[in-house]
């Protein structure tokens, strides 16, 4: 239980960064932290006490495996995160080129 709460705390640290930081790179990093926390959380749900990796071994029976399904999901999630990082980096490079700053309070041509 305590690991769940710690992991959720990590997630909240990420949200805190995304809501309060004013620097584009810091915002990207905060989103990364949120992603790590969620990925880790879902793998925590999959762990089975004394379990081993979900791969059959040639000799001997690997009977007590951890839950393999969340691992498959998180593989997808990691790739999605990399995609969003690439797109956000591309966008912030463009923003830097247009506004010559990474500070979001100074990037405000749109009203409201």
């Amino acid at each position: 239980m305590i690991v769940y709460i710690l992991c959720f705390t990590l997630f909240l640290v990420g949200i805190y960064g995304a809501l309060t930081k004013r620097d584009l790179i810091k915002i990207i990093l905060s989103l990364g932290i949120m992603g790590y926390a969620v990925n880790l959380m879902i793998i925590l749900f999959a762990y089975k006490e004394g379990g081993s990796f979900a791969i059959l071994v040639k000799d001997g029976i690997n009977s007590n495996m951890v839950d393999p399904l969340p691992q498959a999901l998180i593989l997808t999630s990691i790739v999605i995160e990399l995609g969003i990082t690439a797109m956000l980096v591309a966008l912030s490079i463009r923003l830097f080129q247009k506004y010559k700053t990474f500070d979001i309070t100074k990037i405000r041509r749109l009203s409201g």
């Binding site: 990796f53 791969i55 040639k58 790739v79 990399l82 690439a86 591309a90 490079i93 080129q97």
Partner: protein, 150 residues
Amino acid sequence: MKQTEGMTLIVKTVTRISVWLILLYGIYIILHGHLSPGGGFAGGVIIALAFLNVMLAYGRNFIKRWVNIGFLHDLESSSAALFLAVGILGMAIGGGFLANFISHGKLFNLLSAGTIPVLNIIISVKVSMGLFVVVWTLSVFHLDKGGKEE
């Protein structure tokens, strides 16, 4: 600062040897994806990192001389289309969209598990090409600083 010339001779020499080892490791990871940890995504990233290694050590012009970036991008989209094609074949031959329609073979053999190794190879091509193209674009964009106004 002219960095298109690449890094020092030592780095270049080390890279010349290490890049083949990295590539070999990537291919091993991909081909054994259904037997051991790893698979198409991990192997694809390793191969992309090998390319990046060359790009960082030898400079962009070296890559530009040897490889056609547009071709890499086409390779990426065609491998994505191939994935879809495997899915449609599964629909036509096997039980449903993306069904594993090739014989499964014997467990623990390298040639087993039907379409899984095929899909692993397709994914690795897609991932490696895609990631390399992204980093390439990011660094090329950095070159003409300021960019051209649209």
